[in-house]
Structure formats: C-alpha cells, structure tokens
C-alpha cells in the first residue's frame, strides 16, 4: 500500500483521560495511526474501546472534563494541537466532517432538513442563504434522496431512518471536507438500508476522492468499506494493517478472539463459537502489562509485567503483543480449549412428537394516533366543499401469522425493525392480547383464556429479553430475581429455594455467590445470564428469546449463544429465537421464518432458506449482510414508504420488491410455493425463476472452523 503522498491525518500517541468522581478514567492511551488522502481506515472495537472518543478528539469536541495529549496530531499539514478555537471551528465541518450514529437525534427536530444541509455552505463557503439552499437540494439529490425539493422543506421526523442518514451525510459533505468521519453510521439502521448507505459511501468516496475514518463495532461493515483497519481494545491500538490481511490472518490474540466469536452466515456445518473469556478491564485502574493479558489464552508471565511493543508481522502491519511471532501456528480455538463441532444431529429431539407450540392465523392491529388524529377532511366526488371525516389508520402488526414449534426445536424469526416480530413473540405468551387467531401451548388453547387459565402455561413458556439493563429490577438482588418465579409457582421455599437459585446460576455458568449482588454490579453479559436463569427457574419447555443477544458485544454474544445451545441440549428446550441478525439465526436455528410487515413471506429449514430458491425479500436480506468472508452484496431494495399504506391487497412486499412482476403483485395475494417439504415461499414468480438466482451465501467446508 504505502502511498507516496504525505498523510492527510497523523495521530501519534494520542491520550485522553476523564476526571470522574471515582478517579481518572483512561479512555485512550498511546493511540497512533495515519490516514493517506483517499484512504478509508476502519477503527474497530467493542463498546468501551474508546473508538468514538478518537472522533471527538480529532474534532476538538471533547468536553472540558477531558484531558488530551498527543505527541503529534496533524491534519493536512496543520498541527491540531496549536489551533485557536476559531481555527478549530473553521476546520470542523470545513476540513473534516462527521456523521453520527443515530440520525434522528443528530438532526435538529425544529429546523427544515434543507436548512440544516445548507448551513455549512453558509458558514464555511460564504454562500448566501438562498444559494446554499439550492445547492443543498442538489446535494440531497446526489446522496440518493428522491424528490429533494420536498425533502428539503421537510422536518426530520417526517423522514425514514435511511433518509435521515442520507441527509446527515449530505450535511457532512456540504462544505466539501477532505476527511469524512463516520461514527457507527449504519448501526441504527436495518440491514437492507445499511447496504444502501454503504453503497452510497463507496461511490461518494470514489467520486470525491474522500478520505474516510470509519468507526464501527461491525467487522463486516469495515471489511466492506475500508482499505485498512485499526483494532482498538480498552483505549489502545492492538493491531493495524490492511483489512483483508488482518481479517484473513489476525496476529493479535484479541483480533483472533473477535473473529472466532463471530457467527458466520453460511450453510452447512456450524462450528461452536469460541468467545473471549472475561470482561473489559476497569479503565480507572488498568492492569499492568498488556491490557488484554487477563483474558488472553496465549499469555505468559512477561505479559503481566510490561506493556508490549509493536512488531510488524507483514507489510503495512503492526501488532502489539509480546508473543505475536510465536503463536502464529496456534489457532484461537486451540488456545482456548479446542473447537467442538456443533450439534451432530442437532435437530429437534423427537421428530414425530406433536408440536409444542401451535399458532394459527394470529392477528393484531394498532390504531395509529389517538381519536383526534383520525380526524381529517375528505372531499367526496361531486361536492364543492370538503367535509370532516373520521378515518382511523391501522398498523397491522400481525396479519394472519401461523407457525408450529416442535419440542427441542429452535425456530428463528427474522425481519427488519417494525415487521411485527416482537409483537408475535409477546402475543404467543399472551403479554399482548390478539385480535383474532389461535395459540396453543402444550395442547392448551390460550388465545382468549383468562389469566387464571393461562397460569399453567406461564410455567411452561418463558421469555428472555433484549436489553440487559432494563430486564432486571435494579432494586432486587439476583437471588430475589431468580427466586421469585419459584415462589410464585410454589416450586420451592426457604433453603430449598436458595439451593435451587444456586443451581440455576450454575446452569448459566455463574457462581452461586452472585445471588447477593444487585444488577448494577454485573456486566452486560452477566445480566443477560441472570435473565436467562430467571426464565429457566420454572423449568419451562419453551423460551421466547427476543433479540436476546443483540445488545451484547460480539465476544459476549458468542458466549451467550453457546450457553443457549447447551441449555437446549441439556434441557430439551424449544426456542422462538427472534432477531434481526441473519448470521445468528444461521448459527443457531433449525428452521427459520422470514417476516415482512406483519406476515410471513418464507419459511423452511435453515438449509432451505439459505439456499435458492429464495423469496425476493430473503434474497435481498441475505445479500445485504456485510461479511468478513467473501460474499459481495448485489440486491438492493427501494426505501420503505409509510408502514400503514399496505392496503391488504396483493403482495405485502410489492413496494420494495426488486423483482416485481407488475399488476398481479399489487392486486393478488401471492400463492404459497412449496419447493420442498416444509419450505414455503409466498411469491408470484415461478419456482424455476427463483431457483435460478445465484446464492449470496457460501457453503461452509465441512468440519473446517471458520
């Protein structure tokens, strides 16, 4: 690589610390990297790695409580450390611009989008307000926003998430900066929208010769967009190098651990994940020596004593590990204790057994807005004056959903945000009352049963939630939280209950001593384990896992996924596993439902769904997932319209379908195609057409770990 030009951005030995009530928090320590003009550099790391702090430090936007020092901090040949506040301001937005993670909170709710895009042109390029506005409309068009004149006059809340993010990108480009910093720009978006934004960034980069600093926890996204990558751990750089080389042949134990923790989107054998043990060090009192040594399976006494120096395992690469050269031949899986292949015959326990959960034609709709919002004007034909009308609009969260889950089976449920997957999970447990349809758990009909009649089912069917911070009552100890279901269902009392709580904690790989702790004393992964233990307390046979691993960092997520798989095997549990993450489903589930706007568009075994024929939506989803191993995305969807517009006629995917046939898709409900037993696709295309598409998913080589 080694570009001959002078680097655009030079960061050497950047340190940032915060003074907190509890002491000095070391957010960044000795961070160094360079960025050549036109290069895209990825900053990767899990939460707490300090990656966002780097962005704020570069922009000079750290708060007054932060202390910054660096040996060298140069941008375009200028020393950032010696700039006056006014010069820094000119540089922000002008020389370097940033796009933040959550587009909705980053846009001012009370200013029209066009004005927000125009602002940098007014203040950096000296354009008049009206010229800037016209230029802003052009820019909105360039970032792929349809009808830019209308959008420019709109307010942020009137745009969808993807459009908001495009508008923010337009804002960042407005003053024609040389460096674009992107801080998790697609994390808040659905995977199909994410793919579009990544396409946009790629083409902008080519067209404008932009340099990009791309901050993300998602290695797949970084792999797609960045030339080189810089892996951060606990505020330190542990490895840098060309993206492809680093991901193919990681040198630092932490990088190896991260990659081994990633569930892969592939058909075939599923290797057991090898998570990184332990948790992030306390940055108030960092351990001596290598920051990673407490969690490192390759560690030796030297690592505990002295902080390692960088060495170079190849051209353009640097790694901060004492043993980088010695451990080359030992894979991470071997180092942490060998990879076991997953689930030989990992299917449901008894094939012939009657299903445990049966759901038929489940419906639930919500009125949008209150009584008054349904009020509007209508102008009937033949009348001069409009008259007031009351026409409520409905969101069909569940529009006739049917499914069955066998004992010991993992049924994956995938779909984008707002497709109704969470509503489905909660309705099956009667946390939400359905409008219509039937739900039977273990042969007991509960769709319209009273709370008293449901009670025996509540013991059998439990739920694990997404958010570790909100799923445990902060005022109760772990013992009380896990013990309450025992008490409630009269399963155990006194010493017996305490013993059972201890057993449950061990079942989720925690020690019984955790019973006396409060949730705020636990890490995210530990909280999630306690949530699982609580759900297991009543010895259920069916668990709904609603995005149960989505809020966790990759290394922690892998450990929880392994735990769930073990529990399924030990206890014969059936799961409804709800997630937006296709890789997780591919890793864990036996069968998959693909859901779109309240209805199921494809279902089948994992091997059936990941191989052609695909429903066009499934195909788009699969090809949109950014991955670190091959697989380029091809199919793109159009931006989604308002959710309530689907009138119940035709195919529910018609508005965004890249393979739309014509009038038939708009008017006729698609028939189910059955390419194989148990595999159903709802589409007007002929099976042969759907089967003829190339698969975006790789076949895993049998037996080979990652």
């Amino acid at each position: 690589m080694a570009p001959p030009e002078a680097p655009l951005l030079e960061v050497e030995d950047l340190c940032v610390s915060y003074a907190t009530a509890a002491g000095v928090l070391r957010a960044l320590h000795g961070v160094s990297f360079r960025l050549a003009p036109g290069e895209a550099l990825g900053l990767a790391g899990e939460s707490g790695s300090g990656k966002s702090t780097v962005a704020l430090a570069l922009l000079g936007l750290l708060g007054p409580e932060a202390a910054l020092s660096a040996r060298r901090l140069r941008f375009g040949g200028r020393d950032l450390l010696s700039l006056s506040p006014e010069e820094k301001r000119r540089l922000r937005g002008g020389g370097m611009a940033i796009v933040f993670q959550d587009p909705f909170t980053a846009l001012n709710p009370s200013l029209p989008v066009g004005r927000q895009v125009a602002e940098p042109m007014v203040f950096h390029r000296g354009l008049a307000e009206s010229e800037a506005l016209a230029a802003a409309i052009g820019l909105l068009h360039q970032v792929g926003i349809p009808r830019p004149e209308v959008v420019a006059r709109s307010y942020p809340h009137q745009l969808s998430g993807g459009m908001q993010q495009r508008a923010l990108i337009a804002t960042a480009l407005a003053a024609e900066p040389e460096l674009l910093i992107l801080d998790e720009p697609t994390t808040a978006l659905d995977v199909t929208i994410e793919a579009q934004i990544l396409d946009l960034l790629e083409s902008l980069r080519r067209m404008r010769r932009l340099s990009i600093l791309f901050i993300s926890h998602n290695l797949g996204v970084i792999h797609r967009l960045c030339d080189s990558v810089c892996i951060l751990y606990a505020g330190e750089v542990c490895e840098t190098g060309p993206t492809k080389t680093v991901f193919r042949d990681p040198a630092h134990p932490y990088t190896r651990g991260l990659l081994a923790s990633l569930p892969r989107l592939a058909v075939g054998d599923r290797p057991r994940l090898s998570p990184i043990p332990g948790t992030l060090p306390d940055l108030l009192e960092p351990p001596p020596g290598c920051l990673f040594h407490p969690r490192c399976p390759y560690g030796e006494p030297r690592c505990r004593r002295a902080s390692p120096l960088f060495s170079s395992p190849g051209p353009g690469r640097a790694v901060r590990c004492w043993r980088a050269e010695e451990i080359g031949g030992v894979s991470w899986e071997e180092a942490v204790g060998g990879a076991r292949p997953l689930a030989a015959g990992g299917g449901p326990a008894e094939k012939a057994a009657p299903p445990l959960v049966v759901v038929r034609d489940l419906r639930k709709r919500y009125r949008l807005g209150g009584f008054w919002d349904a009020l509007g004007w209508e102008k009937p034909a033949g009348r001069k004056l409009p008259r007031p009308s009351w026409a409520p609009r409905f969101l069909h969260a569940l529009d006739g959903v049917s499914l069955a889950i066998a004992p010991g089976e993992v049924l994956g449920l995938v779909g984008e945000s707002g497709c109704g997957k969470t509503t489905l999970g909660r309705t099956i447990l009667r946390l939400i009352d359905p409008d219509d349809g039937a739900i039977a758990v273990d042969g007991r009909e509960i769709a319209r049963a009273s709370e008293r009649e449901i009670r025996p089912v509540r013991r059998l069917a439990q739920i694990v939630f997404q958010n570790p911070d909100s799923s445990l009552n902060p005022r109760k100890t772990v013992g009380e939280i896990i013990g309450r279901p025992l008490e409630r269902f009269g399963l155990a009392t006194g010493a017996q209950a305490r013993r059972r709580v201890g057993e449950l904690l061990e079942m989720v790989r925690l020690t019984p001593s955790y019973a006396s702790r409060y949730p705020h004393q636990l890490s995210g992964g530990e909280k999630q384990r306690v949530g699982i233990a609580r759900a297991l307390a009543t010895s259920p046979r069916f668990l709904v896992c609603d995005e149960a691993v989505s809020a966790l960092d990759v290394s922690v997520q892998a450990a929880v996924l392994n735990l769930l798989e073990d529990l399924r095997r030990e206890l014969g549990l059936a799961f409804l596993f709800i997630t937006h993450d296709l890789s997780v489903v591919a890793h864990l589930a036996h069968r998959v439902l693909v859901m779109y706007r309240g209805g199921i568009c494809e279902e089948g075994t994992i091997a059936q769904v990941l191989r052609p024929p695909f429903h066009p939506y499934t195909e788009a989803l699969l090809s949109a997932v950014p991955r670190i191993d091959g697989g380029r995305s091809r199919i793109r969807l159009r931006e989604e319209g308002p959710a309530a517009e689907f009138a119940g006629r035709g195919c529910r995917f018609q508005q965004r379908c890249p393979r739309i046939l014509g009038e038939i898709c708009r008017t006729v409900t698609p028939p189910p195609l059955e390419p194989a037993a148990g595999h159903r696709i709802l589409c007007h295309h002929r099976l042969e057409t759907l089967a003829a598409v190339p698969s975006p998913v790789d076949e895993a080589a049998p037996g080979a770990p990652s």
């Binding site: 907190t20 009530a21 948790t279 447990l429 799923s471 269902f489 004393q521 530990e526």
Partner: protein, 283 residues
C-alpha cells in the same frame, strides 16, 4: 469467569447544598420540637406595658401590639408551619401516588379521565382553590392541611404517572407479567420501589409550596385564626403597624424564608444525589 467488581465506583460525596439544607431544616425542626419549652415567654402572654417595643435584650425580636414577645411567637410558629407543610405534603403524597400509579399503569380510560380531572384542578390558581375549599366550612388547622394537600395532589400525580409510564415499559415488568403476577404485585413490589426517588424529590419541594400556601391563606384570613402564632397570620396582623413596628412583619418573614430556602436546598441536593445521570459520572 472472574467475579465482577463488587462496588461500582467509590462512594459519592454528599452534595454541599444537601448538607446545608439538612442543617437548616434540622435546626428549624428542633425549634419546632422544643420551642414551647425554651421560648423566653409563653407565645400568647400579654405584656401591656411593653407594647410595640423594638428589638432589645429582653425581647430579641421586639413585641407586638399586645406586648407579646415576637421571638417566642416565631419560635412556636415554626411548629405550625412545619406541621402544615409536612402533613399537607403527606396528604398529597397519599392521594397523588395512588392516583398516579393507577393512571400510569392501567392507561386507557382511567388515565384519560384522571388526567382531565387533574387538569381541571390545576386550572384553578392554588391560592384560589385553597380559599374555596376553606370557605366551605369554618377554618381550622386540619382543614388548611387538607386544603393545601388537595391543591398539590395533581403535581404528585403527574410525577408519579410519568415515572410509572416509563417503568411500565421496562422489560422486568414484562417478565413479571410473563409469570402472571397480579397488578398489585407489579405496582407495589416492582414499580413503586423504583419510582420513589423522583417522587421524594418532588415531595420535598412541595413541602415548601405547602408552607408558603398555608401562610398565604392565613395571611388572607382563611387559615390559622388569632391568637395562634402562625407566621402568615403574624405578618398579616403586622400590616396595621408597619409604620411603628417593622419587626413584627420582618422577623416572621425572614424565618419563614430561611425555612423555605433550607428545604429547597435539601430538595435540590436530594435531586442531585439521586439523579442516576449525575451518579454514574461520565463515560
């Protein structure tokens, strides 16, 4: 798996305003407790020959038109004011927390009607609502307490309702419903223990509002009645003698302000201390 940290962060220092406020409130509470026994004179004892005396060594805050010792009256008056503030707040707490929990948890119709009713109550200015309630029957201390308490119920309802709404969305409440817990259990064992901090803060501020409103009602002649030594009443009586005896109005007023400032400091301090955003430092 290594054990997680047992204590997250060091113990936080108490905010300065919390300490200062607590000191003032404790001092006033002490005066209220022992006032009648340590006061130099009985609060209602006439000293006809010492009428309207300026502050001096004998009468620290001077005397009023009947020669009663203003210092003793102010001291004893603290009892009335604190009692009124605390008891009235207790009334609003009992009513407000119950209604707020119900509105926030059951939502729908109940919420709609309760909140409309609260809007209605709030559309009367507090002083006028208090006057109206007191006008129904002859004034007495307990009626004042009740009236002031009712006036501030909507404020407590609002705070309680909004925390309840927020907490009802939490996943641990869903977990409780997934094991079929009763509404009572969820409200009192899962929600209420987490809802206290903001309610306590609001209540501590309401104590000062209650004291001020009670004093205003007495000032208008509808609260405490002579010869009681209520601060508001004392200031009201002093209006006729402003030219001759400023001390009759100024001392009860100053002590009342000190009390209210003290409670406000305490409340703000509590807020800072309990606010989770400030608690977890930056990061």
């Amino acid at each position: 798996m290594p054990a997680g940290p047992l204590e997250t962060g060091a113990r936080r220092r108490l905010p300065g305003n919390l300490v200062a406020g607590a000191a003032v409130v404790l001092a006033i509470a002490l005066a209220a407790l022992v006032g009648p026994w340590v006061a130099p004179f009985p609060y209602d004892e006439f000293h006809i020959r010492d009428r309207l005396q300026a502050p001096n060594a004998l009468y620290w805050f001077g005397t009023d038109e009947y020669g009663r010792d203003v210092f003793s009256r102010v001291l004893v008056g603290s009892r009335l004011s604190l009692l009124l503030g605390v008891a009235a707040t207790a009334v609003s707490l009992v009513g407000g927390v119950a209604l707020g929990l119900a509105a926030g948890f059951f939502r729908g119709r109940i919420d709609e009607w309760l909140m409309r009713l609260m809007d209605l109550l709030m559309s009367f200015p507090p002083v006028i609502l208090g006057l109206l309630i007191l006008a129904v029957t002859p004034p007495s201390l307990w009626k004042t307490v009740l009236a002031v308490g009712i006036v501030y119920i909507p404020a407590i309802v609002r705070v309680t309702r909004s925390v309840t709404l927020e907490l009802a969305q939490e996943e641990f409440i869903l977990a409780a419903r997934a094991r079929g817990e009763s509404a009572g259990y969820i409200l009192f064992r899962e929600i209420l223990p987490n809802a206290w901090p903001p309610i306590i803060v609001e209540a501590s501020l309401r104590v000062t509002f209650a004291i001020l409103l009670g004093a205003a009602l007495s000032f208008l002649g509808m609260g405490a009645q002579p010869p009681s030594s209520d601060w508001g009443l004392m200031i009201s009586e002093a209006r006729s003698y402003l030219d001759q005896a400023w001390w009759m109005a100024v001392f009860p007023g100053l002590v009342m302000c000190l009390t209210v400032v003290g409670i406000n400091l305490l409340g703000d301090g509590l807020r800072e201390w309990l606010d989770p955003r400030l608690r977890h430092g930056g990061a």
